[in-house]
């Protein structure tokens, strides 16, 4: 039994998905996805379950055959190669460790299948990288979830794939361990320099780890960019609410005037810098992140240049690092406001009248379906950036 020939010539180059589509019957799981994932980057595919992110990953791994489109590694289309012929390895969501093989043999599996005889040193080095020295002779069932996860990682990494695919690899771990592993994964990726494609539904995980995040929804990429860029200036209402939360107020815009786009919302006039407007005409959502809103007692306390909305505090939740308020506006929507607990801010009781104000440079304009209302999300337990 000779080794399976696996193409691993020259540095692979970027991973590109070109018009990649997968249909199951009438259901389109992945719809004409186009993506370029630069070599050596840590890339996250973020989306709710059923958005097509795992199907995309499985097509890159070769476990699912695309209905149409290409998976290009450098200039080579690998979309129709059998999975065992691809220079791509996967860390599975369930880890899928071989229960009948010990940890050493699990990690050595890929090397052995390629006919490499002297695997001992490489396996030991890989076990050291994932901090599992001395665990070689144990069986997977004797390891904790976090340890199994690291074995799965070592088992994939040892093959020096050109692309490493991670399918929600931290989903089964508890919060503390997940945090540790996020840092670990990031460290290892920097160390080995392999392209990581990480599929997750956890927006915080995507933001902490990835250089570039693609937000997927209904089989399509909604937005792609650096985590901070996506967070600060989302492209669609879906992204604005999937990545963190947003107060989206229904408004009408009538075209840019100079550097600003004036809008009318619920009878009041606001403006947003033209550079932060995805559209400048017609129905729009005026968006402001809850932590960019500040509460004061009356309109005359609003700093110069800030815009404001008045309302009544309908809920106040003290969560330690911040207080999360809901402010009911005159037209009935409830805006989320996160007030950092820095000691200087005034506290508001439920029922108190208050004014929320914001710097227009922190607001953004998104396209809105005609007829769509305000979208303000309820306060979650763990909003982005507030978790300790």
């Amino acid at each position: 039994m000779g080794g399976t020939t696996v193409a691993r010539e020259t540095p692979a180059g970027d991973l590109r998905l070109a018009n990649l589509t997968k249909r199951f019957g009438v259901f389109t799981a992945v719809d004409e996805v186009n993506l370029t994932i630069p070599q050596g980057s840590f890339f996250a595919l973020l989306g709710a379950s059923g958005c097509g992110k795992t199907t995309t990953l499985r097509m890159i791994a070769g476990l699912e055959e695309p209905t149409s489109g290409q998976v290009l590694l450098g200039d080579r289309d690998i979309a129709r190669l059998r999975p065992y012929k691809r220079p791509v390895n996967t860390v599975f969501q369930s880890y899928a460790l071989f229960p009948h093989l010990d940890i050493f043999e699990n990690v050595a599996f890929g090397l052995r299948r390629r006919g490499i005889r002297d695997v001992g040193e490489q396996v030991e080095r890989m076990l050291a990288l994932v901090q599992l020295e001395g665990y070689g002779r144990r069986l997977p069932a004797q390891l904790s979830g976090g340890q199994q996860q690291r074995v799965a990682l070592a088992r994939a990494l040892i093959n020096h794939p050109q692309v490493l695919l991670l399918d929600e690899p931290l989903g089964a771990l508890d919060l503390k361990l997940r945090r540790q592993m996020q840092i670990e994964l990031k460290r290892i990726q920097t160390e080995v320099g392999i392209t990581f494609v990480h599929v997750t539904h956890d927006q915080e995980e995507a933001m902490t780890m990835a250089d570039t995040v693609a937000v997927m929804n209904a089989g399509r990429i909604e937005q792609l960019g650096a985590p901070a860029d996506i967070y600060e200036f989302p492209a669609t209402a879906f992204v604005a609410n999937f990545l963190g939360q947003s107060n989206l107020i229904a408004a009408e815009a009538a075209g840019a005037a100079g550097d600003d786009v004036p809008v009318t919302a619920h009878g009041a006039r606001y403006s947003v810098p033209a550079a932060r407007a995805r559209v400048d005409r017609g129905p729009v959502h005026l968006g402001v992140r809850p932590e960019k809103l500040h509460l004061v007692g009356s309109a005359d306390q609003v700093p110069a240049g800030h815009q404001h909305v008045a309302g009544v505090v309908s809920d106040a939740s003290y969560v330690g690092v911040s207080t999360q308020y809901l402010l009911r506006t005159a037209w009935g929507s409830e805006l989320s406001v996160f007030a950092a607990n820095s000691g200087s801010a005034e506290r508001f009781a439920v029922g108190a009248e208050a004014v929320a104000h914001w710097d227009p440079r922190h607001a953004f304009l998104l396209p809105r379906e005609p007829g769509a209302e305000d979208q303000t999300t309820p306060v979650l337990d763990e909003p982005v950036g507030v978790k300790s």
Binding site: M1, G3, T4, V6, A61, G62, L63, R82, P83, Y84, V88, N89, T90, F92, S94, A96, L97, F98, P99, H100, F109, G110, R113, R114, R155, A156, N159
Partner: protein, 304 residues
Amino acid sequence: MSALAHVPTGQSTGAKPPPAARRGRYRALPYLLLLPGGGWLLLFFALPLLQLAAASLYDPGGSLATGYAMTWAFGNYPDALAAYWPHFLRSFGYAGLALVLALLMGYPLAYAIAQKAGRWKNLLLVCVVAPMFTSFLVRTLAWKTILSDNGWVVGLLRDVHLLGPDGRLLATPFAVVLGLTYNFLPFLVLPLYASLERLDPRLLEAASDLYASPVRAFRRVTLPLSMPGLVAGTLLFFIPASGDYINAELLGTPNEYMIGNVIDSAFLVRLDYPQGAALSFLLMAAILAVVFGYLRRAGTEDVL
């Protein structure tokens, strides 16, 4: 027997047993529950086995009419082996061949039912077990009809010249092996199915992702993980098949007779009890030797 000795301790202390004795009675409960089964085994397995062992050492010169004398005739064993060793070889040969055929059919079948059948799974399982609803004898007789010289199978094979004009299927080693394969197939398929049903298909994806071609994924993942079922199934197939006598009796001729037929005739036709008993113990010993050798090789002693 020590199990029974515990029982009276709680009862012999009179009408009002002290707490310690009462606890003793509860301790005896599991042994009490063992009584019916243990008694049954003792009466209908252990005692007859002892009787058979004794019979195998009777004076071979005796007969049913004149009675047998216990002469500790250990010579019965070498005598029986010398007379019938070809039947032993034939038994294991036929059973082994049938096992190979059954594996070739049964493994893919069990795999398909366990992994690929989806909602048809239960129906297919019923189909595997369904023949058991008719008697072993009737099923074998049905094969006798199917394979008969005037049957359509032989006719067809003669027409396409796979069989000569006088060629036959019935009364050949082929028919006996086929009968064994057919009759014991479910005993192989069911334990295999149970093992393969637990196989997580994601492990095969992982193997494929780690450069294992389908053939290697089978060898390195599927096969080792189905080993317990494979071992159990082959034993459940091989042990009764090598001791069987119905298939050779109904589908073969005396030239195809297996050791089971010899034992059958020793007890029921020739009425040579010492020889029949000695052959029975020889068969038992041979099967145990084969099984232990096999288990040692398969490296899964833990299934026993």
